[in-house]
Symmetry: C2
């Protein structure tokens, strides 16, 4: 895996930013950077655009390129949300602790109309219904119900579910799960939520629900994730126009 030029520039600039090599919070102008790195200005622009859309820097026409002080002061929040991971499911990273999984159910069913629409299925298709309870440090924090078309993973077996489905997909289909479309909202907890997630009756769940796509655009899974409210924090950096 060779490192592309603009990726190299991004890593290098990030490192320099953290090493405080731009004490005035201002990056050199694009033409100078192109000279320094001995690359074209376009490559610099590509690197800076990516960094801007990640919220690391702000570009201001006529003035220059400036470091987002929030990135320096609070870097951790930049490791979530747009541009870093999919924020959910198999991508959960809870500070190096070991997450575990308990499989609650593994069935095959006909998809509802809604599932047919979201996963691009016909009436003849079947889906797996996978119910799992996820633990963080022996604390249950998430009930996950996933629906995956059988035809995508005909050989899926229950022992895979104890580990990462996405890793299995990578190995089996040579594709990664790189896109998601999610809705995030809140609901009162049901009796089942309260039992499985050890919630008090007045404590809610956070819900993340949506579709995971493969690189090529195929919808892989419709997922409904009900989280203990203390564990749900969805971070996102948004930049318009």
């Amino acid at each position: 895996m060779v490192e592309l030029i603009y990726q190299h520039i991004i890593s290098d600039l990030k490192q320099k930013i953290f090493a405080n090599q731009f004490p005035d919070m201002k990056l050199p102008d694009e033409r100078s950077l192109a000279q320094q790195y001995d690359v074209s200005r376009s490559s610099i622009k590509r690197a800076l655009s990516r960094m801007a859309s990640d919220g690391i820097i702000f570009k201001k026409r006529g003035s220059g390129t400036f470091i987002n002080p929030l990135y320096l002061k609070n870097e951790s929040v930049f490791n979530y949300g747009s541009g870093k991971n999919l924020g959910v499911s198999d991508n959960f990273q809870l500070n190096g602790e070991k997450p575990t999984v308990k499989v609650l159910g593994f069935d095959v069913m006909r998809p509802t109309k809604e599932l047919q629409r979201d996963l691009f299925l016909n009436e003849e298709d079947f889906v797996y219904k996978i119910e799992r309870l996820r633990f963080f440090d022996d604390q249950p924090f998430m009930i996950e119900t996933g629906y995956i078309p059988i035809k995508l993973l005909p050989k899926l077996s229950s022992n895979v579910l104890e580990k990462s489905i996405f890793d299995y997909v990578q190995a089996e289909l040579k594709q990664s799960v790189s896109k998601s479309f999610m809705s995030v909202f809140a609901e009162p907890s049901t009796d089942k939520d309260q039992e499985l997630l050890q919630l008090k009756p007045n404590e809610p769940v956070g819900v993340m629900e949506g579709i995971f796509f493969l690189d090529n655009g195929t919808p892989l899974e419709f997922s409904n994730m009900r989280l203990h409210y203390k564990y749900m924090k969805y971070n996102s950096f948004v930049s318009v126009e």
Copy 2:
């Protein structure tokens, strides 16, 4: 306001997609598109990259560019989240109904340590504390507490708060609010929530909390928004790498 080439191409391709002019769900290859529009391939690539990061299309090296069927079937969901608006606060659009606002409080205070950090303030600075209750169709749905540095809007007056602060910022500072960093989570409702938002004791609030930035990267406002859970739905399309 002239329309840029790549913006024109995006609009045109979107329209063609909806007019079903690509029945095989595949766009022409980039070189052909460049010819058709009589522009360089780079401009086509710019347009397609934007559309891909918005989730409208999927590009697959070696094969071509494909339309996301979800975009056709469910266009509405693509009007939220990354790349379309900031999803919150003054940008709320609730299906053409008329939202109204009631100002609950308008004070000046010293920022806490946390506010100083998030809004890049010194100990000598002051902030406005603005509490508002937002209604949709005469239904209260959101308690909004915002903190704005006085030095950014020294002439802010209470009648502005009845309307849109962001519009006022646009007029006053010639800058728009184009970036935000938000955390989305859920909490049990407090007594105050229950009273103001007409919630039952077991019903939760959705919380959106974070910072709104101006174009140039200046943090304008720290905002905490507590929503009636039925009105909170945060949609986001995420694409990594």
